[in-house]
């Protein structure tokens, strides 16, 4: 379970007049569930790539439980990300030619984090997301099933935080609901922080907190009352 402290973030891209992201400060308590909303182009994906260390922020500090990932080297950030962040993306990014199980295990294998426990956990997670046939080839699966494999992959190494970028956007509403359910349930079960960028009101309403971005700035940040009621 990881908490986040953001300070003085400023991300600019060459050719853009205004910064794509400008956040003075933001903190997310460990174990909370946060929705990132905002119009297209408002900077949600940019924020996620900064939070996960996929992109370097031009300025500012990003502290995950006191670790400033901006100060880490490229290799160290890869290692840190592998160990601490579970990522779920809109386009799944599963690898054709591999089975569901092999896809879940691939990042762990590539980073040398493979143990027998990890293997057993992968099987267990696939069961948990409702996929009985772990040896099914990924290209033969439906989109909803693929996203569930991606969720199992994100949770494999018991990350402190699960971050999802539009996890339901390329799914129909039923499959989307199932994915939303799984993200919420599993992050609660494994006790990790959850950050989800989404357009879907239904999903964002089920989170503890909603942060709305516009033109790279936080324009709304609030606890969602409906849920509390």
């Amino acid at each position: 379970m990881l908490g986040l402290q953001l300070a003085g973030i400023d991300v600019s891209f060459p050719g853009l007049a205004a910064p794509a992201l400008a956040i003075d400060s933001l903190s997310v308590t460990a174990g909370s569930r946060v929705a990132l909303t905002g119009a297209s182009g408002s900077g949600k994906s940019t924020l996620i790539s900064i939070l996960t260390g996929l992109e370097r922020a031009g300025q500012g500090r990003i502290l995950w439980d006191g670790v400033d990932i901006c100060a880490l080297s490229e290799g160290a950030r890869d290692r840190w990300r592998g160990a601490n962040i579970g990522l779920v993306l809109q386009d799944f990014h599963l690898f054709p030619g591999l089975s569901a199980l092999e896809n879940v295990l691939l990042p762990a294998r590539l980073s040398g984090a493979m143990t027998r426990d990890v293997g057993a956990r992968a099987e267990h997670l696939l069961q948990r997301v409702g996929l009985a046939r772990s040896t099914q080839m990924i290209e033969t699966m439906s989109r909803g099933e693929m996203q569930r494999v991606a969720i199992a992959r994100a949770l494999l190494r018991k990350p402190g935080v699960v971050i999802a970028d539009e996890p339901t956007a390329s799914l129909d509403s039923d499959a989307g609901d199932a994915v939303g359910d799984l993200l919420l349930e599993l992050s609660t079960e494994s006790g990790c922080t959850l950050i989800v960028a989404t357009h879907e009101l239904a999903l964002s309403r089920r989170m503890d907190r909603r942060i709305r971005l516009a033109a790279g700035r936080i324009v709304e940040d609030g606890v969602i009352e409906e849920r509390a009621a």
Binding site: S45, L54, D78, D91, G97, L98, E102, L106, P107, L110
Partner: protein, 420 residues
């Protein structure tokens, strides 16, 4: 990681196959050229090895060697027959044998020589050495049975040579393979060649009446103006009598020192003496430029292939930016990305190079087999010790080549995974 690489290659199998094929063909081209050139050089050197010193009339050294060692059909100037007698009397000479060319039969050279040379060439696989004017010994690659009657043609039949009708040789023996052009020769008594060409010493009278070769009868009938040659006349190998002109004499000196002295002594106005190996070496030196051109063309083709490969790979890595980014986004270290791209590429190139070596070897074997069949000269297609180094060098080069796309992938930002 290996599972991932294999899955990736399996998915892109068609492209990978073309890729491997391209590398294999480029490699095979170079390998075949190198091996074939080596086989030609080694094969002809070995074929020449059996013959220490060749003496002929003054003229072209190369032509003398090509005609006497490789039995290439072309007229040689004649030297005086007394040279042979002089050589045989020379204490530095272990043996000397006359050779006479010019006739052929069905693509095989009919070569006149002495019984001594037949014995020196190789053991007989079957039969015996010729003992009369009308007998012949076939080389190992001559596809004619013992007892077959050979009616020689003057020159090559396909070049419009006329048939000698006055004599037919009967094959009475066959040599074991020598790996030289002589495997495709029909060896006959030198005296018979002289007789056929109207150069015989007068002692062979038309004495013997009975003739048990019916084909000879018809032959004599057809070629009415030629003197009849008695096929059953016993051979007289006393070369000291006045002998007609000779195109070449094959000499075996007693020692290396003798060989050099003999060569010096017989390089004069009336004779020419050469070491076949030396003549070949000079010939190869002359042909060296041709080889360099060939190697240059091959290298050019290989460079083109290497460039094409590099281009395709870099484009491919570019196309898969998102996938490569995703690997890292999900926690794979960038070194893993580097290793994956590098080993995938290297595996393909290595597969291509190794199968290219096999392919080139096969091609060289095929060509050498064809050429051997034509010339009789055995061409040993084989890898030399240096080729192992060559494989290593090519693979090392391939390893460096594969670094470039791998470095591109390594340096690529993983954020690409998030962008559509």
């Amino acid at each position: 990681m290996i599972g991932f690489i294999l899955a990736d290659l399996r998915r892109l199998w068609a492209g990978s196959l073309v890729f491997v094929l391209l590398v294999a063909l480029a490699t095979a081209l170079g390998v075949a050229v190198t091996l074939q050139e080596r086989a030609l050089r080694l094969g002809s050197a070995r074929a020449a090895d059996k013959f220490d010193l060749v003496i002929g009339a003054p003229g072209s050294e190369t032509q003398l060697v090509l005609s006497s060692i490789f039995l290439q059909p072309s007229p040689l100037p004649l030297m005086e027959g007394t040279v042979l007698a002089r050589l045989l009397a020379d204490p530095r000479v272990a043996s000397a044998a006359p050779v006479g060319f010019g006739d052929s039969f069905g693509g095989y050279a009919v070569v006149g020589t002495s019984t001594g040379l037949v014995g020196e060439l190789e053991q007989l696989a079957e039969g015996r050495v010729f003992a009369t004017l009308g007998e012949a010994v076939a080389g190992a690659a001559v596809d004619l049975a013992l007892g077959y009657a050979v009616k020689p043609t003057h020159g090559l039949a396909e070049l419009g040579g006329h048939a000698h009708t006055e004599l037919a040789y009967r094959i009475v023996g066959r040599l074991k393979p020598t790996g030289t052009a002589w495997d495709r020769a029909i060896l006959v008594p030198m005296q018979a060649v002289w007789a056929l060409h109207g150069m015989a010493a007068a002692e062979h009278d038309d004495a013997d009446g009975h003739d048990d070769h019916p084909h000879d009868e018809t032959a004599s009938g057809a070629g009415g103006d030629h003197p009849h040659i008695d096929a059953d006349a016993a051979l007289d190998e006393d070369w000291s009598k006045a002998t007609p002109g000779l195109p070449a004499i094959l000499v075996k000196p007693k020692s290396i020192a003798d060989a050099y002295k003999l060569r010096q002594d017989y390089r004069s106005n009336t004779t020419l003496a050469v070491f076949p190996g030396e003549v070949l070496t000079n010939l190869y030196a002359t042909l060296g430029d041709a080889k360099r051109v060939l190697v240059g063309v091959t290298t050019g083709a290989q460079v083109l292939v290497a460039a094409a490969i590099l281009l395709v790979t870099i484009l491919h890595v570019g196309q898969r930016r998102r996938q490569i980014g995703a690997l890292r986004a999900f926690g794979a270290p960038r070194t893993a990305v580097f290793v994956i791209v590098w080993s995938e590429l290297f595996a393909l190139i290595a597969a291509g190079v190794l199968s290219g070596f096999a392919l080139g070897f096969g091609a060289a074997k095929f060509i050498a087999g064809y050429l051997s069949g034509e010339s009789g000269v055995a061409m040993p297609v084989m890898f030399a010790a240096g080729d192992g180094f060559l494989v290593f060098a090519i693979l090392a080069f391939a390893g460096c080549l594969a670094m470039l796309p791998a470095v591109l992938a390594y340096r690529q930002s993983p954020a690409a995974a998030l962008r559509a």
